[in-house]
């Protein structure tokens, strides 16, 4: 072994990074449940799973940002459980963050250099090493630019360069391609391969971009609800029914046969009339990250429409743009024939757009009755009408009647979801928007929530629901859009979509039959 440069150190590495039986509990919820994970030098391991699976928590445990309640982390045989993050990075385990977290007033070179100083190098040797890594990642041209001025894709790659200056034997990348377009993602993929070749380190990638994961990884581990449900090569993972279920939900709800009840033909949709909600070419970005890149969808009066897509597709952003809690860069939102793009949120609610936000957004310290009172705030002038509407809602959700005096924070997840829907209904919406109503709920409860939605829809309320749990959203909806990476990939009747090749291609970015071609 002849070290030809500062960055080619001991390639011959034995040992591995290991997590054994790791459990983490947040306020009673098991975020990780006895998870095992092994990362060997020289391989790329993908860590995937739907939103809330525990991926970032696992990285946090490994890198010392989160102390596990149970389990051990060993690095080449040495127990590093519970060590301070900096001690772990000095053992040459590096990570990047979901949000990049560059030092924005420093130059690109200084950013990369600092990480070397952080693990104990002299300034000069850190700088030398930083240069080499910037050259390796084709970032040398940007060396003197301030980090704050970088375009988004470069920013993420500098984040990786910074992690590399510590000469990691193990490198953990937390959603490196989040917010990237396909070209940027492809460049990233090349970068990761270069790193593997040059450093022979073990690389673990958390990603929602399935195409990238499938193309890049040697092995993939799948988490769902804090448990490891599958481990294998990309072909095996793409075939695994448990993985499919974790992402898309149980297929039984829709497979074969005509769709339940109202779904086959929208009974309320009135052909020929202008849609109640029309979104035209909507673009939203957060700083340099584009979340929606020109999305056009519409909902007809009386229709139940679902928008499905993987995490990071832009679903919640879409909902917030419609409600006015994020400002679009471009595009037009029309409600009942009127442009509402510039109206504040509360005015949109008063016009008849009610959103049940992701995570439900109930006021935990307020009682159920008080939460409902807030829901009726748009109709304060008319006490009698509010009382009647409240009674009707309580008839619809009998459990809420029993719990009226309790703080909403004490309700179960399913009850909170009912409360959130009930509250939204009290503003007498003409369209009800729901952001991931099934998140964090048991299957039986999810079915209940959707039965409620279908019934509301039959009563004439237009509904737009975004979901990760595709199959459930499909069964209820009359029309579906598939959103991926900020774009509408597909639109159609759920029944037609579910059986089509095009759906999986649109959702995952690859089709089931094509993927195991590695």
């Amino acid at each position: 072994m002849r070290p030809t440069s500062a960055i080619e150190l001991d390639r011959a590495s034995n040992g591995q990074l290991e997590a054994r039986g790791v459990s983490v509990r947040f306020e009673g919820i098991l975020a990780l449940d006895t998870v095992d994970l092994t990362l060997r030098p020289g391989e790329i391991l993908g860590l995937i799973g739907p939103n809330g699976a525990g991926k970032t928590t696992l990285i946090n445990v490994i890198t010392g940002f989160q102390v596990p309640d149970q389990g051990r982390i060993t690095l080449d045989g040495e127990d590093i459980t519970g060590l301070q993050p900096f001690r772990i990075s000095r053992r040459r385990l590096a990570r990047t963050f979901q949000a990049v977290r560059l030092f924005c007033d420093l130059t690109v070179l200084e950013n990369a250099e600092l990480a070397g100083v952080g693990v104990g190098l002299s300034r000069a040797s850190a700088r030398e090493r930083a240069w080499e890594i910037l050259e390796l990642l084709e970032l040398a041209d940007l060396a003197t630019q301030r980090a704050a001025e970088l375009p988004y894709g470069d920013e993420r790659r500098v984040g990786i360069a910074r992690a590399l200056t510590t000469l990691p034997r193990y490198l953990l990348l937390d959603e490196p391609a989040a917010g990237m377009n396909e070209k940027e993602a492809a460049a990233l993929s090349r970068t990761v391969r270069t790193i593997l070749q040059k450093f022979s380190c073990g690389i673990m990638v958390i990603e929602h971009n399935m195409m990238l994961i499938m193309e890049l990884c040697d092995r993939i581990q799948v988490l769902e609800h804090g448990r490891a449900i599958a481990l294998g090569n990309p072909a095996e993972i793409a075939r695994d029914p448990a993985v499919r279920r974790a992402y898309l939900g149980a297929e039984g709800a829709i497979a074969g046969g005509p769709l339940s009840g109202s779904s086959a033909s929208p009974p309320n949709a009135q052909a020929g009339k202008p849609p109640i909600l029309a979104i035209d070419n909507l673009a939203v970005s957060y700083g340099a990250v584009a979340a929606l890149r020109g999305v056009s969808i519409h909902v007809n009066e009386g229709e139940l429409v679902s928008v499905v897509g993987p995490n990071g597709a832009g679903k919640s952003t879409l909902m917030h743009a419609i409600s006015g809690t994020v400002r679009p860069d471009a595009g037009e939102i029309t409600f009942a024939g009127q442009s509402i793009s510039t109206l504040p949120t509360e005015t949109r609610v008063r016009k008849g757009i009610a959103l049940v936000p992701e995570g439900r957004g109930v006021f935990p310290a307020l009682t159920v009755a008080e939460n409902l009172l807030i829901g009726a705030v748009t109709r304060l002038g008319n006490q009698a009408a509010v009382r009647i509407a409240t009674e009707r809602v309580l008839d619809f959700f009998p459990i809420l009647r029993e719990r009226q005096g309790q703080p909403a924070g004490r309700l179960s997840g399913g009850e909170q979801q009912q409360l959130a829907i009930a509250r939204a209904l009290l503003s007498e919406p003409r369209i009800l928007l729901l952001d991931e109503p099934s998140l964090g709920l048991a299957v039986r409860i999810i079915d209940e929530v959707y039965l409620i939605l279908e019934q509301l829809n039959r009563d004439g309320v237009s509904v737009l629901v975004v979901e990760q749990s595709v199959m459930r959203a499909f069964a209820a909806a009359q029309r579906t859009y598939v959103l991926r990476n900020g774009l509408v990939e597909l639109e159609g009747r759920p029944h037609d979509l579910v059986s089509s090749e095009r759906f999986e291609a649109a959702y995952f970015g690859f089709a089931r039959q094509q993927s195991p071609s590695l």
């Binding site: 809690t325 949120t345 959103l355 310290a365 009172l373 807030i374 705030v377």
Partner: protein, 294 residues
């Protein structure tokens, strides 16, 4: 025994004042993540308003000075804080400092920096005794006012629609807007209440110290702020608890410290607060919404 009772009465008095300061600050923080250091100037302006109006009949003085303070509070929100509503909390904080200094110096310009002797309703300093406890009438009045203010505020927040909206908005402003709660009215309402609390403080405080000065609001605002932190930023119950706790600590120190140490009472007080926060950094009552996800 009587001495202990005397201290308890004092502690409640001082604590009540701090509690109202803390509530006024905490209310605004809870709803817009603004720590309003200009809250002290509301107290100050209340005092000067009474001074200027003192020729009028008593009830009119009270009513008009209350209106002045509320209008000032609403003006602060409208002119200084509303344009910054989307800004970072630190920007809001700096803006509140600027406002505070501006008002103080404006009053220096108009009234001079020197303290003006003034006590509204000076007959309040009459003493009387119950058993062996000596009670100043002012203490009775201020305790009554404090209790009325706390009870009234509780009723307002629990019973009225705008009160419930305020509580909802301070738990989750976005969710409140998504229910159709009007941000501007709720925030204006919070500032009006905060102003009213400052006015009560200014009534009691100016009577206690017997003078007015442009900088008179600084001490109460600092102690009120400490009480808010101690109670748990964002929690109204915490603010009240924190206020009474700081009051009790302060009176206990006054009673127990030796004569030589007494000038350092505040140093010891803040050191104790420091200790409490070391043991319980989230304050007495932790507010969940403030936790950040890494």
């Amino acid at each position: 025994m009587t001495l202990t009772l005397q201290y308890a009465v004092d502690a409640l008095n001082v604590g009540g004042l701090y509690a109202m300061m803390a509530l006024g600050i905490g209310l605004i923080f809870g709803i817009m993540r603004l720590i309003n250091f200009a809250h002290g100037e509301l107290v100050m302006v209340g005092g000067y308003a009474m001074l200027l109006l003192v020729q009028l009949p008593g009830p009119l003085v009270l009513a008009l000075s209350l209106i002045v303070v509320i209008v000032l509070a609403l003006g602060m929100e409208r002119l200084a804080f509303r344009p910054l509503r989307e800004a970072a909390p630190s920007t809001l904080l700096v803006a509140s400092f600027a406002l505070s200094y501006f008002l103080q110096n404006f009053f220096v310009l108009v009234f001079g920096a020197r303290p003006v002797p003034f006590a509204f309703a000076s007959e309040l300093s009459t003493n009387f005794e119950i058993g062996h406890i000596r009670i100043v009438l002012l203490q009775v009045v201020s305790m009554t006012l404090t209790i009325l203010a706390l009870v009234g505020l509780t009723a307002l927040l629990k019973r009225t629609s705008i009160g419930v909206q305020l509580r909802a908005a301070s738990q989750d402003f976005r969710a409140a807007k998504l229910c159709g709660v009007r941000a501007n009215s709720v925030i204006a309402f919070a500032f009006a209440i905060s102003g009213s609390l400052a006015w009560i403080v200014s009534l009691i405080y100016s009577a206690q110290i017997g003078q007015l000065s442009p900088a008179m609001g600084v001490r109460p605002v600092v102690i009120g702020f400490v009480a808010t932190i101690l109670g748990g930023l964002g929690s109204l119950v915490g603010a009240v608890l924190g206020g009474f706790l700081v009051g009790a600590l302060s009176v206990t120190l006054e009673a127990t410290l030796s004569l030589q140490l007494r000038p350092f009472k505040e140093a010891v007080l803040f050191a104790l607060v420091f200790l409490v926060l070391l043991l319980r950094p989230q304050g007495l009552i932790a507010v969940r919404a403030l936790k950040e996800r890494v």
